[in-house]
């Protein structure tokens, strides 16, 4: 009961950030941002870096950030806290606990273990322990299942791996999708159009691990050009990135196509055509911007999807990224690992959405004003 009320309250706080006035937003957001940068900086590089980052970031936000951005930042922090709380509740509610191993532990041993790892029996207590550890000590806590390692030690090396695959996949999805989609959109109802859109449908009609398995069979097992699994060089990056990118390339292609179609119908294109401008210039100069808009607004959720599609791709290719940590942590009930990955994912997605918002605004002058 109490938990439900707490969640409700937390949510009200988050919702209210939608109505933060310019003055309050300009104060609240930089403060929150500074707080986060301090914690993060201190955890990663020490006290001094934390302070520098905090002051720098806070000042930048105060003086330069548009209202929209400030509101998003103000939204971010309480929603992270709420996320931690809710996830903790859900995990505690699940049957089984991390200390129920094969060797039947007697209650004394379990109590000792719980004390050692800081995992009390009550969810709310754990929440406070965790937040205290996070804010005051600057650590994500010890992993319960992997002896002697803190969560940041485990996730740390995994983060660059997931980011590099994710970024490459995103770039590939855009490149492939835009090319296919714009071309199709420029030649509607032609063979190229039907052909590429059918191809694109294949990308979303099979789970990505099936496509990935086919890649493995062809490129790794039969041809031997690329490594079958693992991590250790640019060659290991290629198949996972492509596998991850393809479904999103499909979506991007469809969006780009309809975006292009819409733009090409517009009056100003007709004017340009009437003026006798060659087609290429029309496309590049005018239409592209317009067709990019829906693609850009899709990129936010796409990034989220890429990061989570990574669970499957990382498992398939044995890539040591964050995805597999989340899955393992959840299955093993390693609470700190799950929370750590949740925080990172949420943080990344929100930041990415922010970047996308800014990009969208920059691309569409009509939106710029509302910033």
């Amino acid at each position: 009961m109490i938990e439900a009320i707490t969640i409700l309250v937390g949510f009200v706080i988050i919702a209210s950030t939608a109505w933060l006035g310019p003055k309050s937003a300009r104060i609240a957001a930089p403060l929150l941002l500074a707080g986060m940068l301090y914690i993060g900086g201190r955890a990663g590089w020490g006290q001094l870096t934390g302070v520098i980052l905090a002051v720098g970031g806070g000042a930048l936000a105060y003086f330069f950030a548009p209202l929209r951005v400030l509101r998003r930042v103000a939204f971010l922090v309480p929603s992270l806290v709420l996320l931690i709380y809710t996830t903790t509740l859900l995990m505690y509610r699940a049957p089984g606990n991390p200390f129920a191993g094969e060797k039947v532990a007697d209650p004394q041993v379990e109590m000792a273990l719980r004390a050692h790892y800081g995992v009390p029996k009550d969810a709310t207590q754990f929440f406070f322990v965790y937040m205290h550890r996070l804010v005051v000590e600057g650590t994500l806590g010890p992993s319960i299942k992997v002896a002697g390692r803190s969560v940041e030690e485990l996730i740390g090396p995994a983060l660059p791996v997931s980011i590099s695959i994710g970024l490459l996949a995103l770039a590939l999805a855009c490149a492939i999708g835009l090319t296919l989609g714009v071309c199709a959109g420029l030649r509607p109802n032609s063979l190229a159009d039907y052909g590429s859109m059918t191809l694109v449908l294949f990308g979303i009609s099979l789970p990505n691990f099936v496509i990935g398995a086919l890649f493995i069979i062809i490129f790794a097992l039969k041809l031997g050009w690329l490594p079958v699994a693992g991590w250790g060089g640019y060659r290991h990056l290629i198949m996972p990135a492509f596998t991850l990118a393809l479904p999103y390339a499909a979506y991007v292609a469809r969006l780009a196509r309809s975006g292009t179609l819409e733009v090409m119908q517009q009056d100003f294109i007709r004017t340009a055509r009437a003026k006798g401008l060659p087609r290429n210039i029309i496309v590049l100069k005018h239409a592209l911007k317009g067709s990019l808009l829906p693609v850009v607004s899709f990129l936010g959720p796409a990034a989220a999807g890429i990061m989570t599609g990574s669970f499957v791709v990382e498992t398939l290719f044995g890539v040591p990224g964050i995805g597999q940590w989340f899955v393992k942590g959840a299955i093993n009930r390693d609470y700190s690992v799950v929370l750590g990955t949740a925080i990172i994912y949420s943080g990344l997605i929100t930041s990415f959405n922010l970047v996308v918002d800014l990009a969208y605004a920059w691309l569409d002058p009509r939106v710029r004003g509302t910033l």
């Binding site: 939204f75 996320l83 859900l90 398995a213 599609g309 997605i349």
Partner: protein
């Protein structure tokens, strides 16, 4: 001038005045051959998965260690799996689960999403802001994350069942539907017939139910048709990670992918469920596209 009334009027009547929105859509849908093929395929697959196993008394569960991993033959049309079970039976019965979960989860998410989005869109203002904030918050959480956590809330024994999976998937998919419906309702809200209904004193819920939703039906249908394949694919992800339903296409495909090696090819383990899965999803996507093109007057008209 089709369907022109025999007695001419002074007013100029546009050629298609006699057709309702629905008839119009249906007509255009029929013209889209690919979409029709898709629909037909789906019906065929549904028949195959639900009718054939009972008709032919297929047995997907009995293991037979002597006959493991056999390629297709006269006796085992699709071959056998790693425990000697009849793969033909498994693919068809697995289809039952995948399709059921797909449709059920979609139905659930449509139900929740439509009402949520309609309320947010209709009442607008602060209500809308708050409701969409929740959606934003949930969007910030990677959906697989939510799904996995929800799955783990069920005990080990319950986990292979369909119910937890469909709950988990349905609970996550409604966000998209809510957003789309909200957008639709926002535009529909300004239409004259809604204004008229309001003036006549109809209450909010009544307006939503009787006026707005029927007009948004096209969009709902389109998105529902496109959600089913997304859900089926999500379920296959869960199977790959070990959390899916015990017998489904996703599970079969995941197992097949797990035994790919260069020494012995077990191609039949991967081919059949992928074929069924791919065809189903392809058809659903095509059908959804067709529906979208048919109900959206602006598309494809150049």
């Amino acid at each position: 001038m089709r369907n022109a009334p025999s007695n001419s009027h002074a007013v100029d009547v546009p050629a298609e005045a006699g057709r309702s929105l629905r008839q119009d859509a249906l007509c255009r849908l029929k013209e889209n051959r690919m979409a029709l093929v898709g629909a037909a395929l789906i019906v065929l697959i549904l028949l195959a998965c639900f009718a054939v196993p009972t008709l032919l008394h297929l047995d997907p569960v009995t293991t037979d260690p002597q006959n493991q991993k056999l390629p297709p033959s006269a006796r085992y049309w699709f071959g056998t799996d790693n425990l000697g079970r009849d793969y033909f039976a498994r693919v068809l019965v697995g289809g039952q689960t995948s399709l059921l979960v797909g449709f059920a989860a979609t139905a659930a998410s449509v139900f929740v999403g439509v009402f949520y989005g309609a309320v947010a869109g209709y009442y607008g203002g602060k209500v809308d802001d708050v409701m969409m904030r929740l959606v934003d918050f949930l969007y910030g959480i990677p959906y697989m994350f939510l799904v996995i956590i929800i799955m783990l809330m069920f005990s080990e024994t319950a986990r292979g069942e369909a119910l937890p999976v469909f709950l988990a998937l349905g609970l996550v998919q409604w966000l998209d539907m809510a957003r789309v419906i909200r957008g639709q309702v926002l535009t529909l809200r300004r239409r004259e017939f809604v204004l008229a209904a309001r003036l006549l004193g109809a209450s909010g819920p009544r307006i939503i139910l009787t006026h707005i939703l029927p007009n948004a039906l096209g969009v709902i249908l389109v998105y529902a048709t496109l959600t089913v394949p997304a859900v089926i694919i999500l379920e296959s992800f869960l199977s790959f990670l070990g959390l899916g339903v015990t017998l489904s296409w996703g599970e079969l495909v995941a197992e097949a992918v797990g035994v790919v090696n260069p020494i012995r090819s077990y191609w039949w383990l991967l081919l059949w469920p992928s074929l069924f899965l791919g065809l189903t999803l392809f058809s659903l996507n095509f059908l959804g596209d067709g529906l979208r093109d048919a109900t959206d007057p602006r598309s494809r008209k150049l």
